[in-house]
């Protein structure tokens, strides 16, 4: 049985405290770390959005790259191909992800478990094939290169620190929204569905619609992460949309603890640092990462956060 999530005591204080600390971070950190934290923030948002499905609704989607990747491509095409301001391109791309999630979600809602995973995977692979084969639009295998960081509204976001601040704001606001959703009555229903969907249905709730809502929320914020990612990297390639990339936010959620809102964020921090650290002395970092995940599933299926909260709880019980 998944643990009951603990609420933050003062979420507003936490929000502003972490925002201020992270905002000031470039003052103390070399550019390389600013770059790294930008990546962590984007990966965190993608993982937290995926985990709305995995950890809080009990749905394993193997197709979240469809929303992340199509938004990344859409924003790149709009930036390079039109004279629209970046803000407009950004919101159009996110809106398209939401719409795609709604349409795909309508089809996928009738299946569960493994079949749901494969159905979402198959849909995302269709996106992959379209991007891969529609060379005249997407550049095919070469992808789209040289995506500039245009000003967002009146703000110049060109340059590592400026773009970091932009990503920080967008991610923090998105995470706050997701946190509110999970803590809202809607979030409560989703967790009830995860724990026992039949019983939730007997309560007179339309399980199907709630699951669909969860799918659209996950797709929309996955789209936000994708739209942030494209100008950050300056390049998008079809690999972004390949099914194996869908495993990344899932593995990160698992690593951090999928029954905790902040689990995927912890997972993303560990994931990005492990990647940087292990690639420092071997290019075979996936081997060690895979081994870590395997051992984690065998011995600590609650992830890092599950492990920590278990020990904190035990410590409290002992002191009584």
């Amino acid at each position: 049985m998944p643990p009951k999530p603990q609420n933050l005591k003062n979420p507003i204080i936490w929000f502003f405290a972490s925002l201020i600390v992270l905002w000031a971070a470039p003052l103390f950190l070399p550019t390389f770390y600013v770059y790294l934290i930008t990546e962590i923030l984007i990966v965190s948002l993608f993982a937290v959005s995926t985990n709305v499905l995995l950890g809080f609704t009990g749905l394993l989607s193997f197709g979240q790259v469809a929303f992340f990747g199509s938004s990344a491509y859409a924003v790149s095409l709009l930036i390079k191909g039109t004279s629209l301001p970046f803000a407009a391109s950004f919101f159009i791309s996110v809106g398209m992800s939401a719409l795609a999630a709604l349409i795909i979600g309508l089809f996928c809602m009738r299946l569960r478990g493994f079949y749901f995973a494969i159905l979402t995977l198959a849909f995302s692979q269709i996106f992959f094939v379209v991007v891969y084969k529609w060379t005249s639009l997407t550049g095919g295998d070469d992808g789209i290169v040289g995506i500039p960081k245009k000003p967002f509204l009146f703000f110049n976001i060109n340059g590592p620190d400026a773009y970091y601040h932009f990503v920080l704001l967008v991610v923090m606001v998105s995470l706050a929204l997701l946190y509110l959703i999970i803590r809202s009555p809607l979030g409560e229903v989703l967790q009830a569905i995860r724990d026992n969907s039949e019983r939730t249905e007997f309560l007179g709730l339309q399980v199907r619609n709630y699951r669909l809502a969860s799918f659209v929320i996950a797709g929309t914020f996955g789209g936000v992460a994708g739209a942030l990612f494209a100008p950050f990297q300056g390049i998008v390639t079809p690999e972004l949309l390949h099914w194996s990339h869908s495993a990344e936010p899932l593995m990160i959620s698992l690593l951090g603890g999928m029954y905790f809102f902040f689990g995927p964020i912890a997972g993303a921090v560990i994931f990005v640092f492990i990647k940087e650290w292990i690639t420092g002395f071997t290019e075979y970092w996936m081997f060690w990462y895979g081994l870590l995940l395997m051992l984690l599933i065998m011995y600590l299926p609650g992830g890092i956060m599950g492990f920590v909260s278990e020990h904190l709880k035990r410590g409290k019980d002992d002191s009584r």
Partner: protein, 290 residues
């Protein structure tokens, strides 16, 4: 389209289908009995090709056949380890965790292969005995090796059918696929049966990989490319159904072969569209008897 060309494509498609069947039969039996959706089945297929290459080139005077047998045994041993150590821990868990665990196997096996074999594409020569072609009507040259693959697929299909329906072990597998609790209630050593079946499935994947070696470039990515097609076959055929996997292999194999002929730019998507249609209309598969 000329009729002779049609026949030629049909046979080429059939050889691809039989290759798919070799791999898919292993996965469907594992999935049916152990209820584990094994994402790493494609990685075992890839290992079959790499081991075949390795034995062929590192041992002096070894023929393709012997290299293939050694490779299949090696893949079987790796399969035994995967079942006996990590998988055994998570049989009671959700499909989500099982899928993610088998995905972690892919990361491990892929990178280990890169470490030992490098990232260059390798090629295995077609064994001398089969390095010719037969001339079909319309002057089309049909490689002997493709015919050989078809023969292998048919022989394996027959042997699996015999094993599944005519032996005690096969009856246990069938019974376990239908109702697992009953097996242990009858005093059957279920964990051992699971290990045996997982080894059998791995061996079939390895065999498919070894036989595919001379047809394709041997590369680390080959597992990820094939596994989705294989899952598609298992779903279309119905999880656990050998007959279903056989028919679905032919369906998917021919669909891909003719898809490339008629719609070269969009053929890649055919398999996914087929899976989507089947999952939305008949998620239990087209040929499941239950």
């Amino acid at each position: 389209m000329e009729f002779s060309y049609f026949i030629y494509q049909l046979i080429i498609g059939l050889s691809y289908s039989m290759l798919l069947f070799l791999i898919a039969s292993g996965l469907t039996i594992i999935f049916g009995l152990l209820n584990i959706p094994n994402f790493a089945h494609g990685a075992l297929y890839m290992l079959g090709a790499y081991f075949t290459y390795f034995f062929l080139h590192s041992l002096p005077g070894v023929s393709f056949g012997i290299a293939l047998v050694l490779a299949v045994v090696s893949v079987g041993l790796i399969g035994a380890f995967l079942e006996y150590v990590p998988l055994r821990k998570i049989y009671e868990r959700s499909h989500a965790l099982q899928l993610l665990m088998t995905f972690s196997f892919i990361l491990i096996l892929d990178d280990a292969t890169k470490y030992f074999a490098g990232t260059d594409f390798l090629s295995i020569a077609i064994p001398k005995l089969m390095d010719g072609s037969i001339t079909l009507p319309g002057d089309r040259e049909m490689p002997v090796y493709s015919i050989f693959i078809i023969a292998c697929g048919l022989v394996v299909a027959y042997l699996l059918w015999l094993g599944l329906y005519k032996t005690r072990l096969g009856k246990l597998v069938q019974a376990g696929t239908a109702n697992k609790e009953m097996l242990s209630a009858l005093g059957i050593n279920v964990p051992r049966l699971f290990t045996l079946v997982f080894i059998l499935g791995s061996v079939l994947a390895g065999l498919g990989g070894g036989l595919a070696g001379p047809l394709k470039a041997v590369s680390v990515g080959m597992g990820e490319t094939v596994i989705i097609t294989i899952f598609a076959i298992v779903i279309v055929g119905g999880v656990g159904s050998l007959k279903g996997a056989f028919i679905a292999s032919i369906l998917v194999g021919e669909l891909n072969t003719f898809g490339v002929v008629f719609f070269p730019s969009f053929a890649m998507a055919f398999t996914y569209i087929l899976v989507i249609v089947v999952l939305l209309t008949k998620p239990e598969g087209l040929f499941r008897t239950k």
